[in-house]
Assembly symmetry: D2
Homo-oligomer: 310 residues x 4
Amino acid sequence: MTATSERTGTIVLGENQYGKAEVRLMKVDRDQPRHRITELSVTSQLRGDFTEAHTVGDQGRVVPTDTQKNTVFAFAKDGISSPEEFAIRLSEHFTSSFDWVAGGRWEVKEYTWEHIPSSLTNNVTDGEHDHAFVKGGTETRTALVQRYGDEVFVLAGLEDLRVLKSTGSEFHGFPKDRFTTLQETTDRILATSVTARWRYTTTDIDFNVVYDDVRRVLLESFADLHSLALQQTLFHMGKAALEAHPEIAEIRFSMPNLHHFLVDFTPFGMENPNEVFYIADRPYGKIEAEVRREGVAAEPRAWNTVPGFC
Amino acid sequence: MTATSERTGTIVLGENQYGKAEVRLMKVDRDQPRHRITELSVTSQLRGDFTEAHTVGDQGRVVPTDTQKNTVFAFAKDGISSPEEFAIRLSEHFTSSFDWVAGGRWEVKEYTWEHIPSSLTNNVTDGEHDHAFVKGGTETRTALVQRYGDEVFVLAGLEDLRVLKSTGSEFHGFPKDRFTTLQETTDRILATSVTARWRYTTTDIDFNVVYDDVRRVLLESFADLHSLALQQTLFHMGKAALEAHPEIAEIRFSMPNLHHFLVDFTPFGMENPNEVFYIADRPYGKIEAEVRREGVAAEPRAWNTVPGFC
Amino acid sequence: MTATSERTGTIVLGENQYGKAEVRLMKVDRDQPRHRITELSVTSQLRGDFTEAHTVGDQGRVVPTDTQKNTVFAFAKDGISSPEEFAIRLSEHFTSSFDWVAGGRWEVKEYTWEHIPSSLTNNVTDGEHDHAFVKGGTETRTALVQRYGDEVFVLAGLEDLRVLKSTGSEFHGFPKDRFTTLQETTDRILATSVTARWRYTTTDIDFNVVYDDVRRVLLESFADLHSLALQQTLFHMGKAALEAHPEIAEIRFSMPNLHHFLVDFTPFGMENPNEVFYIADRPYGKIEAEVRREGVAAEPRAWNTVPGFC
Amino acid sequence: MTATSERTGTIVLGENQYGKAEVRLMKVDRDQPRHRITELSVTSQLRGDFTEAHTVGDQGRVVPTDTQKNTVFAFAKDGISSPEEFAIRLSEHFTSSFDWVAGGRWEVKEYTWEHIPSSLTNNVTDGEHDHAFVKGGTETRTALVQRYGDEVFVLAGLEDLRVLKSTGSEFHGFPKDRFTTLQETTDRILATSVTARWRYTTTDIDFNVVYDDVRRVLLESFADLHSLALQQTLFHMGKAALEAHPEIAEIRFSMPNLHHFLVDFTPFGMENPNEVFYIADRPYGKIEAEVRREGVAAEPRAWNTVPGFC
């Protein structure tokens, strides 16, 4: 051992976190005939001094991941006002219940469900069935809470919001080198799948109302900009979100450029005036950036362990 | 060789088909300021006498899969009225253009896009942006055309229509044996992802109108039945579709029972009156059946090579 | 109701089956210090007269899918000699235990695990750790048993066996039309992911030994043929399997042509003598065929509900 | 605009990067009869001053992602000695060719292929076919190079190395609270899928030799530890890698605890002495940690934008 240490130096534990990932649950609010359902996928990870669990296998401080799962289910019983508040509540519970849990990371994903329209009258309210649902939307809402002692950071977000413009997008004026073969264009399809996260500077807001409005702003601003590049569209979307919501300090995007290539009809003796496009899978462009409000302090701890830009 | 043949018998080619799978395309109808977009994934497979391609590698009759792909793109230029009609047109082209192509299989999937709502006025019609879109719906529309000479069979369908009832579902009265541990219940969550295909007895219909109505009927009938089993729900949905549409001969379903298990709160000293459910991935129930109109001739060739029940 | 029936005819239940899908289990044989592990995914589906479950929701005959799952686990306790025999045993149990279960479909997938090599001596046999394993192989072994009363059909198979030839593959001599743009080639990459199923005419064989040998024959015959088309390679592989194993009546393949396109280096002033290829995702060629032994009776019931060709 | 700014502050671009993701290529070395093939997926992202592309859509500095893709293909022509060196070469090219490209991120994934064994003699060397291959291994090798001007950081790694111990794993001594239901155990299955990245302090090594040895050390150390917790196994594996390779400064792991639950056979009147386990999908444990060499300076820029722990 000593010999090894002399050669390799002392080897120690660095940063670490552990917990239960993707606890999937359905909460049914059934106190009214018209039910409300909430589908979540919850990941809970704890941080603190867990050195002895790693170095000698002592579990004396390891709150089992199974217990974290049980706690998620038990807390859901009280109702889920928003994914952000649910994550904050979990963060408070674990840090206050176990001295050595100094903080952690709680991520909640929420999926959209809609009441099924019905032309009948039984169990139906305003033309919608009270307790029958169809999955809706294509994006997933995300909430990420990171806690360090008493400090709490809240990142709201969404994943896989698929949007496309069939015109109103150009790309030209780029530098050329030996390996450049791309043609300039003043009319192309612009398509992406938006992943975004934004940081709130307060928890004193209606998270559901703000989420819905940010989603609306992102869609509208994607639509209205005549785009010279996906980068410009990204910045325009972020700027619009920040202008609409002073409670947001910064927003980060990861936006693939999902290529739709115009099919060359020349060999067939036909023309293709931007009508038929081949949809490629890979490779794809990958545009990532942060749009932020100048003068607001950066909070790297809010973004610690966040994958890439989002 | 002779020795081998004596021992093993003559080895010959059986049924076969070949083509290009998942040709993904976007067609933009841009003759009006308000664009219409159609996203398809097309699979084209030819049948006929291709024995020599297999036995001696002679390609003299093999219309390349690349050519099939090009044809899909070229035909999209003329417009896509419905996935069914697009598949029929492809089937006519290949069987009429190449003597030895006796038939084949053409499958078309269509994905839903919606105009993005906009509060602005530029490029906006009735509150929706003219050429900016957001992906909608969760299900995929499918059309499968199988052709044998002049005979054409059309199967319409949908995949992954996710529906759920938060009450109004029971399960009891089943046989018990040594391995039975399931508890009977008079109130559970019923959740499934509907895959369905139905066969039309005519091509003289408005495929889009009928598709939309079958989808509506499937949703409504899923919602309105107080269910004693997923099998009963399946039959009720199929019966409703056939009653609403005499042009449908039969409908087949594959419907997983996506288990939502009530979490046991007893160890926590809490009650769980059907409020919090754990969503399992695997295993899942798998319910498959055909609902058909008595007296209509079966057409096994329509369903040949269709995966399982759908 | 009568009115509806007059208009639409009587609507009845057609073919149906139900059960539990993807029961994933690990069986550990630990009677020796050197453990043996078997990972399976089992799907069990029953057929018979289940009409009343569908039409009126009567579960009196519905052996719960949960019970089917429990039975799979319980039977695993006795050991799993091969996926084929495990499926046959399940088929015997359900048809003999419940009068109204006339048959069904049992599919078993098996995944490969290998002992981890070890240079130490503790818990190590012949340089391999006794109870530590690493997942191996890329293909999945499949077994499908279909039972109709006392008649049992056994299909063995494999999925996703990824193979590639870096030369020794040509493609030319194909018919041209207006939409043909593909260039002929005498040297290309041939790549596919083999899915195959073959039918045994007997159950009196060592399923594991035969499986291993069929896999070996498929790999060797893929390798040794100078290929003029993927169709020729497919037939050559099937013929080799049938010649090596008289107990196989027929073999079916679904083999995508996974395109590797030569990158055009001309714009860069460089040559690319078959060295750098772009790997495409979609679309891909899809080649499907059966190779069979002449004179052996076809058994469509063996292939009933098998997805497509495999 | 001024009004908005007064209310919301100036909104500016923060960190950003862009490029082409998942350029998939196959390089064939065919100067010898026995071919060597290398399959890569390459992601190239540039950093620097791209503000005007975002704020006004000026592409004057935007090296197109298409050009980045072409460069990847062109460079592959010269041969790929290792994924790490290929990424370093790309990083040098882009930062030296374009003044305003200050750095970036290049990630390379490599997949394993093996020669197909052959009992024939044609095109065969030492019992293996010269140019026919079968995909091997289950893990993916990863290399990530981040460059900031002249400073280059190299992270090697692997993804999805699936390992399992059928005994020699315990879990007990953990704290209990109201929500604890997990039973203690002295014998369970331990299964995980290792994702790891480690940082080299030098580029003057044989990357392939070291990678192979780190993989070997991770497997052996996983196998040899009698484990009291996955955390302990993780630390043991990291320590072993650092002790074996002084050129590694730190190693990070993300290791799911892939639960294998013992099936309760009590209701069936049977015993289950750790023989039959149900394999669950979700939720799963998620254990993440860094193991590092004390006294070696941390390099947060090496890990910037790395998803989570790995």
